[in-house]
């Protein structure tokens, strides 16, 4: 009996040893990372953030807007208070090659968008009808040529007070995009909405 107990103890020690090793090896891998306003799940390739419905009367060209070029805000259905720089970093954290393709080649990734409504997650097409959706119009990702100037929000001084970038920006960003022509199925007005986007 004593011999048997000793043997079990030995096995238990070995199991504990390997479990400890496993825990230690997992310690450095953090699948979830939280920036100030965007949560990133690297394992599931998902980002989560909050936004509000932008019910201004102007035409909408993008579904989601993150804080960046202020004049685009009016053209987006949902606006998040998270900075665009944070979104860019979040995607780079998930998959830098995908981010590189989106940013430099205007590549449109496959995305599964879910919106939390009355404690239940809905796919975006269950929340709204979209007629003219070109996947490039899902999120405004930024512009390499202008981001350096625009996204440096730390500047106390407007660096571009004297130059006329706006018409150029507008033609580059909106260009030939069609208005989204959307219709809400659920009532999201006046609520802070939680959104989850999974990149495939």
């Amino acid at each position: 009996m004593q011999y048997k107990n000793c043997r079990y103890m030995g096995i238990a020690k070995v199991i504990f040893f390997f479990a400890g090793l496993l825990l230690l090896s997992c310690k450095n891998y953090k699948p979830k990372h939280i920036f100030s306003q965007i949560e990133v799940d690297r394992f599931n390739k998902t980002i989560s953030f909050k936004a509000y419905l932008n019910d201004t009367p102007s035409e909408k060209y993008f579904i989601f807007y993150f804080q960046s070029y202020p004049w685009i805000r009016d053209y987006a259905i949902f606006c998040s208070s998270a900075p665009l720089k944070e979104l860019q970093t979040a995607l780079a954290l998930i998959d830098w090659e995908l981010w590189n393709k989106i940013y430099t080649n205007k590549f449109s990734p496959q995305m599964e968008i879910k919106i939390l409504h009355e404690n239940q997650w809905f796919l975006i097409h269950e929340i709204m009808k979209l007629k003219n959706l070109n996947t490039y119009q899902t999120i405004f990702w930024g512009l390499p040529g202008y981001d350096e100037v625009v996204l440096n929000d730390g500047y106390y001084v407007s660096r571009c007070s004297g130059c006329e970038l706006l018409p150029l920006e507008q033609s580059l960003i909106l260009g030939t995009l069609q208005p989204l022509n959307y219709k809400l199925i659920k009532n999201l007005k006046g609520k802070e909405i939680k959104i989850k986007i999974k990149f495939n």
Binding site: N28, K30, H33, F35, K85, Q88, T89, L91, A92, L93, D95, W96, W99, N100, T104, P144, G145, E148, V149, N152, G154, Y155, Y156, V157, S158, R159, C160, S161, G162, C163
Partner: protein, 358 residues
């Protein structure tokens, strides 16, 4: 007689008042020439200035036979940036750096990413009036661990930078100069005493590149780099790789060999991605493959700390231990996700890592 004294007194008060209003400060490093002409000897251009004329930088002026700086106390941009944005990777990772610039530049890079403040006439740009003491106070209030002289070329606001750097030292703040290295040796010599990290742009490795794209010369920059190394300054080098302009593998190899031989194999070297900018919008962004190739060349030459810049999330944004190859500092964009350096050494194999870590 009394009237004369009164007149001189009034004129002096008026001139002093005018000087304080326009915030002109007598510049350092210049010499008088014939008549009221003078020569600025701050940078390798060594401009000869006629009365009431500015130098090539547009911010140093000959007034009545004396050289004045027009940017002293006049920052145009102030921001609290992550130190990774400079980029400086081997000094206090994950900390904030109080960053500032005044208008003007002594180069004319056609791909300048800060052209709105570096290449436009000073009169067109709105500036603030902030003394060196106030800058240091602001840096401390924002929890910054360093002050970076950046965005434009800090050489052109030399006196302002020097006074801030001296004040910063009194408060244990580090000083980072983000520069093209286009400066003469005597002014640099004075600066070395106060600057902790020189983040130098080595824009290309041919005279042709410097002449065509930056309206400058390569040789003075190389002299500056060698001098900094000789004086024991800590240097990080950035090479912005521009497609078809300076992406020739032979030139990149020559540059890496030069860095290894003259600055040492522990000098951090960044290959940064170019995005179309300012007057160089006809070229595409640098392909990641080109940057990776440059990285491989530098590693084969034997440089220990090589990075790829402006490609957020790329594995070569991180610092690896040159001995055990483990990740020392994991970065994504300007974010530090992991830091495995303790007391300047690799946590795993205890190898000493070049840099300023505490």
């Amino acid at each position: 007689m009394k009237l004369n004294i009164f007149f001189i007194f009034t004129l002096t008060v008026f001139c002093l008042n005018l000087l304080s209003q326009t915030n002109l400060k007598e510049a350092m490093f210049w010499q008088p020439l014939d008549g009221k002409n003078i020569q600025c000897v701050l940078c390798p251009r060594e401009c000869i200035l006629k009365p009431n004329h500015t130098g090539y930088c547009t911010v140093r002026i000959n007034l009545n036979g004396k050289l004045y700086t027009m940017t002293y106390n006049h920052p145009v941009s102030i921001a609290v940036d992550p130190i990774e944005k400079k980029p400086v990777f081997h000094m206090l990772p994950g900390t904030k750096s109080f960053s500032l610039a005044t208008p003007g530049c002594n180069l004319r890079c056609i791909h300048c990413q800060n052209w709105e403040i570096s290449q436009r006439p000073i009169g067109e740009i709105k500036t603030y009036n902030i003394s060196p003491y106030e800058i240091v106070k602001m840096a401390l209030e924002t929890g910054s661990k360093s002050i970076s002289y950046t965005y434009t070329e800090p050489v052109i606001f030399y006196e302002y930078m020097l006074d801030i750097a001296k004040e910063a030292r009194k408060h244990n703040l580090k000083n980072v100069m983000v520069t093209s290295g286009y400066i003469n040796i005597p002014p640099l010599d004075e600066l070395i005493k106060y600057i902790d990290v020189f983040r130098v742009d080595l824009k290309g490795f041919t005279e042709d590149f410097y002449r065509k794209l930056a309206a400058g010369k390569l040789q003075p920059v190389l002299e500056v780099l060698k001098y900094l190394k000789q004086k024991g300054a800590f240097i990080e080098v950035v090479n912005l790789v521009i497609p078809t302009m300076n992406d020739n593998p032979q030139d990149i190899k020559k540059m890496c060999v030069w860095i290894k031989e003259n600055l040492g194999d522990e000098t951090p070297l960044f290959f940064s991605r170019f995005y179309p900018m300012y007057k160089l919008t006809n070229l595409p962004p640098t392909p990641v493959e080109t940057l990776q190739k440059a990285y491989q060349i530098a590693k084969e030459v034997g440089l220990k700390y090589v990075y790829i810049g402006n490609v957020p999330g790329h594995p070569y944004e991180s610092t690896y231990c040159p001995k055990c190859k483990k990740v020392l500092i994991k970065r994504v964009g300007y974010n530090v996700l992991e830091n495995n350096i303790t007391k300047g050494r690799c946590k795993v194999c205890n190898t000493k890592i070049a840099g300023i870590w505490e």
